[in-house]
Symmetry: C2
Subunit: 452 residues, 2 copies
Amino acid sequence: VTSAQRPDSAVDPTHDVNLASWVDSANGHPDFPIQNLPFGMFDPGVVADRTGEGTRGGIRIGDLILDLRALHDSGVLTGPAQVGSKAASVSLNGLFALGAGPRKDLREQVSRLLVDGSEHCDTVAAMLFPVRDVTVRLPAMIGDFTDFYAGINHATNVGQLFRPDHPLLPNYKWVPIGYHGRASSIHVSGESFARPMGQIKMPGTDAPVFQASRKLDLELELGIWIGGGNAPGHPILIADAASHIAGYCLLNDWSARDIQSWEYQPLGPFLSKSFHSTISAWVVTPEALAPYRAAMTRPAGDPELLSYLHDPVDQAVGGLDIELEVLLTTASMRAGSMTPQRLSLSSTRHMYWTAAQLVAHHTSGGCDLRPGDLLGSGTISGPTPDSCGSLLEITHDGRDTVLLRSGETRTFLEDGDEVVLRARAHRPGVAPIGFGECLARVLPHHVAHGSA
Amino acid sequence: VTSAQRPDSAVDPTHDVNLASWVDSANGHPDFPIQNLPFGMFDPGVVADRTGEGTRGGIRIGDLILDLRALHDSGVLTGPAQVGSKAASVSLNGLFALGAGPRKDLREQVSRLLVDGSEHCDTVAAMLFPVRDVTVRLPAMIGDFTDFYAGINHATNVGQLFRPDHPLLPNYKWVPIGYHGRASSIHVSGESFARPMGQIKMPGTDAPVFQASRKLDLELELGIWIGGGNAPGHPILIADAASHIAGYCLLNDWSARDIQSWEYQPLGPFLSKSFHSTISAWVVTPEALAPYRAAMTRPAGDPELLSYLHDPVDQAVGGLDIELEVLLTTASMRAGSMTPQRLSLSSTRHMYWTAAQLVAHHTSGGCDLRPGDLLGSGTISGPTPDSCGSLLEITHDGRDTVLLRSGETRTFLEDGDEVVLRARAHRPGVAPIGFGECLARVLPHHVAHGSA
């Protein structure tokens, strides 16, 4: 374990709570102060583009995006940061593939360029685009997407609904449960989607019908971006696994519960979770989150970790302490200019496995991870009803209703509903940072041929 | 339904049983006579490359590969074929994205170039590489991989092992069961792999151990290559679905049964099926397979198809009649120069769903298919023990053994075992064609840190 892989917030100047930027909107920004500096991909568009066409990497600062292609071409950077910016000028996959060093160096040099009093202020100012003027893209080309099940309260709550006698399956505390998801249907925050159609078998009927889902749900998840991949067919050892993580985002794993319950036996969720998934646009780095690492405490009586999942450093600092929030606005709330209503306040502390454990497990049998692959944590629910990360749990599969401030009620999502996920990392003496929003709106289903 | 989408073997000159090629090795070739002409990707390598470096598309003919980049640059092609060859000169994903028209035209023009008496014989001869001299690659960059469960005998056999009272689940005959697989771990025929490590819980023990799989199995599957994708979020209707299929290959979905049985509840197979998957290198087109289409006959008493899965043309000709074979050689059989031993002879006739139904179902809720995506049929077993597509079925989960000609026995695969899948389409009056081999050898497990 080297200090480069396990940054200590006490000695990393990019975390200094007193840092301020000459980018005004950064100072006091709830998500993107100079202490964050997450990566993303954007297209300035034809008119605004001063540096050539097309999508390129950027770094978010306040309400602006720093163009990494222009920054590379300017020659202001040196060493690994210059190598990293060249890779990022085409796609973040290239930057991710370089591993932790160039990413860390690039973030550090950009921090020095954006800090109050930087000598390169004028040069860099010309490379900044207002985020509202550009098209923000998916942060990387996602090769494969894996969704885990690391939220133990979620697994318990869902188990309780369908197997009250033994809610948590025998394998849960031994093996990080996960399944392969669909990469093609992952979309960046802000894209609306149509309510899915699918085969649904209603209780008490003999046959399924093909119709629009009536149990459309959200799932509050943490996304984990893979940096450097493994040597093909070879495991990433648990002690090295953290260095293969490029950053984090929010993930809403929209789920059609009625399609799911009919299709999922025996091979697991399929179309009920792959019609549309939403992720937040900014890759928040392990470096920015270093002050928010947390110890993992395995409850008394839980089995000991198998050795391929056990690393003392990972147990000491491999957890994350980040607040997660689910917000809902309905069409009538928007018409009445009402603010979003909180459905849940949870935390990454409720993950049973660390991100490094998910990486080590994933590659333990030889499965290949590639730069830009995405892992989902699974739904992260807290222990109380107001901290649950899905409506399935909040309404007990529709048996209860949520009363909204508008006077409306919800069991599952209605057309026009807009869900926003947010994350906020904060603790005394450290600059709070966030992830930006993970937002999408539910549109009515397509009118297709096969509608029953 | 147009004749372009539903080619009729009676009027397609590329199927003429009397066609012969000036490429000698094509005539009488069991897999690749001039009536086949499948697509693939290859790298001629530095020395052999006469046309520039790197991987490009090709068409297999006998023991040779026709370089589509060189063919494009030669200007011999015209119209859609020229457009298609340009796309294929970079990757087959580009050709697939163009849909059926350019692919069909390209194959037809190449057929006329390779036939005995072609005026372009000398020009084209210079663009042919012996397959033994080049590196054959995966036929496309696979965005997402979905594995279905369309082999009803397999589903029944596996169900019988674990649920003798109700082997086939209630959803099976209504909904094409499938799950998302792992694209990164799909490898082209010829690449060996290490026996996977994983968590395994032995019967009668209290805790799992991390060790090498002792129940390594093969799965005999048909692979289906996606051509043109859907409009994002929109379904592909069943009547259009066949036109979105670029071709077919063989797929060995290697499976670690002991890892699978511990990990798969409740989200389905994960690492037990994603350590390595093998596909054959050549994309056999719907055009080449047109003479081998078959009617689907739904057994009496089975539920009627829901309308989004029903198309009269698909029911009439959407099935396939292709013989499938599993061959095994052990290390000692190779040492004794023994020929491979057949483990199974099955047929695509045992699929319960057509490829078009899989495509229509996959997109029915809005999930996005992209050019170069791969679908697996699921294991295709016949109704008898000698037609089963997995050792799980053949040996009843290891309760029985297979006696080999070498005097060895097998329950599951041992290190050094090599499995070859083959396909052969034949019927009277039509030139038989095949798929080439889908081959890989099992190597000993990596000696990793966490081995128990």
